[in-house]
Assembly symmetry: C2
Homo-oligomer: 295 residues x 2
């Protein structure tokens, strides 16, 4: 395998890794130079400043995933249509320097005449598939916009975006619910969190259930410091209700503090889960590079 520089270039951060031929991460660097902070035309220079030494290696391959491939990024890498597996995405790479630096395209999927899209998460799912030797499964990537990805026959068949992290922040900080909440979230209060998860299974919409985060305080049933945990349970619980899991096993990929909450919510609903962190990202770049070199 050629030396690989893996780049995960998101909206607010830039992370790079030098990956060995067996997939081992040799070195990792992180900066706050997300695409929103990079002026148009300055992407090559920013990448050089971050890992120019690595890019100087002979025969290097550099794969860039994430929002750098969006209209607001380095260059638009058109979405790859589902179903999409390793070979489909490798084939659809948008080359910046032919054979040397490429943008990984995101995926798009249409359901009920309505498109959905992701960028960057496809690499994490590929990494998780490779690490766990899975050709089928449900992969969940919690965050501002949580992605639920269904894989079958080693290809992403479909996915759905849930704006859960963003809804939580808006309700927590900007809505009437904020008035009865403490300034800081504090540590997770598990009982209140699980109460929220269970309540969401009975409620038919967060539009309604969210109001209970106010009335439970108004009627002195929950202490105010438990409300952020309760609201978090309502939001994550609503997501799980909408997905109708029924005992399915899912793979969670993301920051430990978040995947822990999802694992807790899944467990209380009788679903098993497996948790992965950033190792999935770099493994996904490596698996794509391997596919590319086999082709």
């Amino acid at each position: 395998m050629r030396p690989l520089v893996a780049v995960d270039w998101g909206t607010s951060s830039l992370r790079v890794a030098r990956v060995g031929s067996d997939g081992t991460v040799l070195e990792e660097r992180t900066s706050d130079r997300g695409i929103l902070s990079v002026p148009a035309g300055s992407f090559p220079e920013t990448l050089r400043e971050t890992c120019g030494d690595w890019l100087n290696q002979p025969d290097v391959l550099c794969l860039v995933s994430g929002m750098a491939g969006s209209r607001q990024g380095w260059q638009e890498a058109p979405y790859c249509t589902c179903p999409a597996g390793f070979a489909d995405v490798a084939h659809a790479l948008a080359w910046i320097e032919p054979g040397r630096i490429a943008l990984v395209p995101g995926l798009c999927f249409e359901f009920l005449d309505t498109p959905d899209a992701l960028r960057g998460e496809e690499v994490q799912v590929f990494g998780a598939m490779d690490l766990l030797h899975l050709d089928d499964g449900v992969f969940v990537l919690p965050g501002t916009h949580c992605k639920w990805v269904r894989v079958a026959e080693a290809r992403v068949q479909s996915f759905a975006t849930f704006m859960s992290g963003e809804f939580y922040s808006l309700l927590r900080q900007q809505s009437i619910l904020a008035r009865t909440m403490p300034d800081e979230d504090g540590p997770l209060e598990e009982a209140a969190f699980l109460r929220g998860v269970h309540h969401a299974q009975q409620a038919r919409s967060l539009l309604h259930s969210a109001f209970s985060a106010r009335t439970l305080a108004l009627f002195d049933i929950l202490p105010t410091q438990a409300l952020p945990s309760y609201l978090s349970g309502l939001v994550i619980g609503e997501e799980l209700r909408a997905r109708a899991l029924h005992g399915l096993e899912v793979v969670l990929i993301g920051a430990p503090a978040l995947t822990e909450r999802y694992a807790l919510a899944l467990h209380t609903l009788g679903c098993a889960s497996h948790r992965l962190g950033s190792e999935a990202t770099w493994r996904g770049h490596w698996a794509l590079a391997r596919t590319l070199q086999k082709a």
Copy 2:
């Protein structure tokens, strides 16, 4: 009937009416002195400044509904528990000046160990029941926190709060969806609105469906100026999905611009509706006064 001064004292506005013995509204005044702008202890004075001339009538009765009866208001009027009809609420009035000035209590209702509450809307529902000669029905009061109220045997049996107006504002103005939307809402685009209503019937959660307000613009399927109407349709449509109406007829009470949207959404889903405005509020005060004087 004694002369009636009806007061609708909400969070951000104070509205008063002088109501004739047959229920006719003789005179109406509106001010911006909602409870949030009134210092503790200044409620009697504020009311006198607004309609002291009316209160000087001999044998006058003054009924105050809305947030003035909350903990943050004039004085807390404890919630009346559902089921609650005219007589239950008349019996539970919190008298400020015995026999002369009273606060109308709100209602509370518990479902799945979770309380819900309203203040002020009970009077509007009573007014609508009286105006339309209804002892049974579903009453919907759209707004920041939309209330769905079920009446049977002339008593409110249950209700549910949907934070629809607030969710719409937060998503419209503070979320990622705002980035692809015009600064101003503009007039309602009916086709986009109805598309949102119908999409919401298929989607299982607004957490997911809301993201389509972004992707439909991203993929150039909807023009950006249609997005606020589409999002409004998604939110109202989600509410109707959660209520599972199946051809029911509902009574809409509220500002014409809002009840019109609900009527449109209900119609496209095969439900009839009847619309009322502020006349329901004053009629509700009058019907309560009548109940009180009969007792």
